[in-house]
Symmetry: C2
Subunit: 256 residues, 2 copies
């Protein structure tokens, strides 16, 4: 039976995240990217399938390069499959690409790197009109940020570190050591910036806490030279706030 | 009493166009950009105002540079006024700029030029995923378009012409002669193009019919050399379809 790998994009605004959720009572199931896509695949294949996603994006988080896989009995032409899925999918979720992969392809454990982008509009509304047409994919802060120290601090995040300070307490992970391959802050305009982070793996809320910590650096509340101390603290209290989901986008996932 | 000029941006998706509309029965008024903005101005000024807009954009049409004016008794600081309005406005409508103008400033009759952009994704869904995050401001056609003849035809639209073929029948205008200053077709990607049109005035649906006619050129149904004959016909039947509102954006309005 062929195993299919899908690359997926969605605007997270109207999804309760990636993961299917079963509300305790007999209410309507919550609208999730996995739920919507799995149902569409079943409709196209006319057989039950189980879809596994690489990354459990949170409610409101967007994706340009989410990856998911499923095994089906039918072998369908990939271009026709992509077209059929996109014809039936709602317009806030798209299958960007489909391919056939090895039987034991596991989108979670086979991933070797992921890239995220965080978009943040900063400064008071008076001089900072949030981007109108991109407002659903941009977070906002009323604080005007100084980008240069943020760029300096971003450099300190690159490398292998214990990211315990950059995830919630009681995260339930055995190890909080991760390697960040790249972390850059780019000023798109004087009031809009993006933070690009890539690495071999990410803890829960890690990118949003990195973004929140860099925001505190941009406000002058944290100095770039504080970063080593923040890593050493291994305490969520040492880092900045978890920035909102709407600014975050899963850009790509790399496989061998 | 000071007269205020506002430059306004909105995503037209959830507006029934610019113009306030009074449904015949006692239903809720329809949500229009003028209606929403006028109500917000009244709330901020705490006095009745009458807002006049430069361009009656249709239902679903977007704006980056709509202009409107009103006269009020109070004189408010312009930066504070902009901030106050934006604080109370919904997030799909923004006041980009406010200024004080002459008592007799008329946003309609004083306008000397306007610029529009039409965004069109083309080609079948199989090889043409519509732009996910810009889907609300982009129209789509399943036909794959050849951009070079469109660019050639666009050149023929520039200049002073009788645009009777480019507006609906029974338009009710005395003269259908207008001057188009610029008309360019740009391929943003291989499946996405934009048509920028500016001129001294536009007839009802004129930009959307120009876009539809250029689309027919891109499909090979109309040749760029047909354009003189199309102008001469002075007949709506000679031009292409009126493309959907969602692709159109009023970019700017120029005043002396």
């Amino acid at each position: 039976m062929p195993r299919y790998k899908l690359t997926i994009a969605y605007e997270g605004t109207d999804f309760y995240g990636w993961q299917k959720q079963h509300p305790p009572t007999q209410e309507e199931p919550m609208r999730t990217a996995q739920g919507v896509l799995e149902e569409t695949i079943r409709h196209v294949f006319r057989e039950p399938v189980r879809l596994v996603g690489a990354s459990r994006t949170d409610s409101g988080v967007h994706a340009r390069g989410q990856v998911a896989a499923f095994t089906a009995e039918k072998e369908l032409d990939l271009a026709r499959l992509t077209a059929a899925l996109n014809t039936h999918l709602p317009d806030d979720l798209q299958v960007v690409k489909a391919s056939i992969v090895h039987d034991d392809f596991n989108p979670i454990s086979n991933a070797i790197a992921k890239g995220y982008r965080y978009r943040l509009a900063h400064g008071r509304k008076l001089e900072n009109l949030p981007p109108l047409f991109d407002r659903r994919i941009t977070a906002r802060t009323p604080h005007l940020l100084d980008v240069a120290p943020m760029q300096e601090a971003a450099q300190c995040i690159i490398g292998e570190h214990d990211f315990a300070s950059f995830t919630r307490r009681n995260h339930g992970r055995e190890s909080t050591i991760r390697t960040v391959h790249d972390c850059t802050v780019t000023a798109t305009t004087s009031r809009l910036l993006r933070i690009d982070v890539s690495g071999n793996g990410f803890l829960y809320n890690m990118v949003r806490i990195i973004a929140g910590t860099l925001m505190e650096v941009g406000r002058g509340h944290i100095s770039p030279t504080d970063l080593p101390r923040i890593f050493e603290a291994k305490d969520r209290g040492a880092t900045g706030p978890t920035l909102p989901a709407e600014g975050l986008c899963l850009m790509w996932i790399q496989y061998p």
